[in-house]
Symmetry: D2
Subunit: 407 residues, 4 copies
């Protein structure tokens, strides 16, 4: 089944791969393998059984389209997964097949699978945030001193400096977003393992130890419990994506306004196949801004759907959790679809300082507030700020908490 | 690129096909072919040129993955389409290739293509609404007289009849939804053709006639103008989908409550591969209700994103319109993902009248409001209502305004 | 309790009055009075009892703050209303007091009360839509021929006429919105009367007749049943408000872009206390556009909350219906807060045709698409369109379906 | 202007007071007073002028209704505030009046005013979170060992313990929410002071020092810059409210399900005026759950509107920021409207352990998964968890970061 042309248009192939069916199915299999091995280490399975199970946990061995086709009717993506995995194991070891997914529940495999995919998604977002931040710092270096009109409520208001716009309006919230993503990601990337109703009852006294070993094997945090229906730490990460989309949208809105033909202070880079028009040969459209604005329109609704889904029934929700899965991946697809083009465009953003000066000059006579000398305090504020932001950007870029999982 | 396992889990393959890349690209090509032929009829092209263009308008002749891959950078799905179509035409007729897409703009092809896909989507939804309505009428026939607890604010309140629940709470709003979809669909299924800025300026005085002929060729309404940035009639159809999702969600919520193990008044049909559990062999889960509840959680957010996107800039929006495309198709995928399973489950819904009576009996001693005789006025109200709803359901099912386009 | 400064800032005193506590309480009392009189006409009450009840149905006789204070704990706005009304009646006629609200339920009074308030809200919106449409028609008369840059994806694209912008982008969707409001309002303004669980069981065989008489007395449609949990016709009206907010937001976005200091093609009217700045004496801010843009950002979320609330439990929802009440009134407050200022500003909008020509001239050399002669087809399209829109606007303005209820 | 009966019904008088007009106007005045005194300390004003300004900064001295009435037309709540404050100062010192609001902009006063109100709102929420957590701990103490059906996908699934439900599903996410609110609140409660365009240009070199002193005087953090258009830290706090609403909604959903008449495992406390019915004397409705479910339906949409508003134009947004103000206060009103009743009801929640056992017994014969002995691992998991949660709850309750500002 095809993603539909519109999601592809507005996202990136990288992120689509991260949440694609093969990747997600493999991630669920990684959970099953780690679980079996942890159970063997705790004596719940023999090492041979665990090896037989783990050896079968390759997506290539399953029929993914059949799995997906069966999922709706089954009411779960994990039910057909476990059935196929059992069949695959049984081809080599009928006894081992009975021990697949021992004491676990569908949601354990699905949530953990999604966590593993999300770690890769975070790696992509983190990489491109660093790239965008670096490009913005270069813009501040090259053009920061240029005076530019400051506009409030869509009217020229006074004069600021381009460096202040870059530092205070675009870069600073971006670095805060990156910082908060590091924190929220660390809290959210946890194993899910609770068994049928969250109590690990089917693993006897070994449950917590199995949970701990499975988490370690997958390099995930051990939640010390279950989060089947308590989605707050997970969705806090989703909220951070929503905040990031808003920050990117603000930058894109500014670009689109400064890039208007009549204002022409900046332009996205051109190039083959970029931002043309079927009707108007002369045009160069700000496509990175367009994609980021589309993302900023879509992401808040994904966040709202995720929050709405928190009202979950008892030990596993009917509808709310299942909707969350699709909204979650949709959120990442949307946001990366806005982030990556901005990072690329920022690296080649064309800045016309002369035009900035002309635009000020057109208003200078009207009011003392348009005196170009007012760019000076803006430059000072920007310098103070950049002194703090530069090392912060460097530290964040160096941290790369998930770089090992870059797809 | 793959749709992601979660959208597939929560939607239907039929609807995914309707909005899939091949179908949408072919729909844009249908627009281009109809346009060329209409222009030939108005003397803007020679019949030979139009024939050369129309002959190339087959999705099999294009490289759809390349088209999609180029779309983000181009900022449009139509720019690479027109480029590929020109190249395909040029292989046979270099002169004709220059006349592809004459006087039209990207949005003309994209919006009209989406309208054509949406007509098929409407055909599916309409078909399954009729099926669900018919199944509910059968339930009312078979079990309508049964008394059942009425519950308000999640507490037993008094007694009603199962027929009243079916007729007043489930069926009547469903038929209204179908009726309004017929109306909103008729208004929304319009050609988009305005050229670069909506004025058809590049077709000289022939613009309106070309528009009229193109619409007729595609069996679409001629809007008598353009709706590039005035999306209200289009999105009113989207709102109707949102209302339908809510109506389905209410039915599904009732099913999920009546089907609780402790209440057990109804049960979704079972069967191979349906509603099982990886952890609990005894369970039968209400998966149709689950899918409809998931849809009802997702659809409102799609509607909100569509409404938010109405704030479009000038003659073509930056971001708002593009986001609309993805939210639009996502809305249909979500709603059909809830509707179809409900229609299937309603046909086999198990109703336990004895249990309904027992549940009333447990409260009878508490208050006169639980006298089973109170089912009698409910039966009368239901009968009055069903007398009106039966012919309405029959008329709606017979109308089938889009059956010719069922995929 | 005070509305909070922010809702007041973004709405109008008129609409706040329509949904204010005294108006809503009186509307519930109007329901109770009409119900008693209808029951008397059907012989369920004596005329004296009905007169005693109806005579007490004046908001001045109740303690509205106490009613509101008790509502949360009661879980209903109608429970303390009925209690206070009974006490008021009992002061004159203790027997009559026992018959207050006979056979009705809280939701009957609350929903019907809200319907009565909404009729007034519709009257306000309809009045101001007519005013805005008339002002736009005058703008088209005065300045329609002026050529103006057409801009797509935030870039100058070609030339159109100001009249085409007014007619096709602003006026036509507005008139469609008004037309659809007339239709949706007619369907939504229905009595709610179903009794405890929707079956009118407590009125014996007289229920339908009482419902019919009560509806007639309030000049509301008789739904021929109940809509306690089937909110689709009601919320379709809410969706129309959402669509209207989007249409207003598009107009406001265009105004804000055309009014930018660097473009200066239009300006909102100035005047004492209008659009100033605490920091910049020279500024005149586009406050009507600001309020409409704020409304367009808020309304979609109200619509989403309303749609989400449709997933109602059994015979009366727990949470979903109650949330609807507040979201509903908030939607009307938000939309009127955007509509009314636009209608006022449109009447005095300043249009600078010379600046429009200069802005075109700055691009003329770049591409043939900027030839001012391209305004001619735009003028022709606008003329065709205005010929259809003028009589439509006149008919809609004359219809005034709810003018009798203007507050 | 009145808040409308529905917001009052669904919120609390305390929170309405926090964001009411007098409180907000006083908060803006507190900003103006602190600014004047900081400017005097830096030599920008004389001490006499500062004293004259600060002395006039009392809401009682202003005409709040007139201020609000003028705000829409002005496009700002601060413009009429500053005008009235200047007039009030001028009555005593005409020279001082000219120095009111020196170098500041509307948004500085409005944002800082809203921050000050929000600190009180946080104090209320924090207080009631501690109360709810304490009540839940008492429930775990008293009834934690009781076995209870665990239900997944709305079907009985196995057995857990009531203590595990309380600890893992309800309490743990609540304490995490409180912890994150402490963090997010600390980051969000910052002074806003940037002047016309964020650069403090009108205060010469003294700007940063004035900012620092003003922040200290108001016991707010100095942001070291401005956040006029970079709303991420502010809105992250809003996201936390959204997450909290979801956590409360989950608890309320469980209560509403466990409290169904047919299941009857828990009941909200009764009492005079609580949870009755106008139609059914026998009923006791779960009104705290109702209010929390209403909040959980409303809050996600407020969050979405806030996120949508982040796409702000240039140095101050047109529409997006203004909408934020109303959505922000609406979010707090909604969430506290759900939290406080839950805290009260939790303190008196009736738990029927016998009924829990009966409900299990009805399923025991069906499957080994319903063996009541399965409550034992649940009890162990709950004990482990409670050992961690008890000190966490105590520490959070003791922290009271904003208790000094409890209204």
């Amino acid at each position: 089944m095809d993603a539909g042309p519109f999601e592809q248009f507005l996202s990136t192939p990288e992120m689509a791969g991260v949440f694609g069916a093969p990747a997600f199915v493999q991630a669920m299999l990684d959970f099953e393998a780690a679980l079996a091995q942890a159970q063997a280490a705790e004596g719940l399975l023999t090492p041979e059984v665990a090896a037989a199970i783990a050896g079968a946990c390759r997506v290539q061995a399953l029929d993914v389209p059949a799995l997906l086709a069966a999922s709706g009717r089954a009411g779960s993506l994990a039910i057909p997964l476990v059935a196929q995995l059992k069949a695959a194991v049984a081809r080599h070891d009928a006894q081992a097949a009975k021990q697949v997914h021992l004491g676990a529940t569908s949601q354990d495999a699905i949530d953990t699978g999604l966590v593993l995919c999300t770690r890769r998604a975070l790696a992509l977002v983190d990489r491109d945030l660093s790239a965008l931040a670096a490009a913005l710092l270069r813009l501040a270096d090259r053009h920061g001193a240029a005076p530019v009109l400051a506009r409030t409520l869509m009217q020229p208001a006074s004069v600021t400096s381009f460096g202040f716009k870059v530092a205070a309006h675009w870069l600073q919230p971006l670095l805060r977003a990156q910082q908060r993503l590091h924190e929220a990601g660390a809290a959210a990337l946890q194993l899910q393992l609770g068994g049928a109703v969250g109590t690990l009852a089917q693993m006897g006294g070994k449950g917590p130890a199995v949970r701990s070993r499975t988490a370690a094997a997958l390099s995930l945090a051990d939640p010390g419990g279950t989060w089947h229906t308590a989605r707050d730490e997970w969705l806090r990460l989703g909220c951070e994506l929503g905040l990031l989309a808003g920050t990117l949208g603000k930058l894109a809105r500014d670009w689109s306004l400064m890039g208007q033909g009549e204002i022409a202070e900046i332009a996205e880079p051109g190039g083959e196949g970029r931002g043309g028009s079927t009707a108007m040969a002369h045009k160069r459209n700000p496509v990175a801004a367009m994609l980021a604005l589309a993302a900023a329109q879509r992401a808040p609704q994904r966040v709202a759907a995720l929050l709405q889904g928190m009202v979950q029934e008892h030990e596993r929700a009917l509808g709310g959790w299942q909707a969350e899965l699709a909204e979650w991946s949709g959120l990442w697809l949307a946001v990366h679809g806005g982030l990556k083009p901005l990072a690329e465009a920022a690296a080649g953003l064309q800045v016309d300082e002369a035009r900035m000066r002309q635009n000020i000059a057109a208003f200078e006579a009207r009011d003392a507030m348009f005196d170009a000398a007012l760019a000076q305090p803006a430059r000072e504020r920007a310098d103070e700020l950049l002194q703090r932001l530069r090392p912060q950007a460097a530290a964040l870029a160096a941290a790369q908490p998930w770089a090992a999982w870059l797809p």
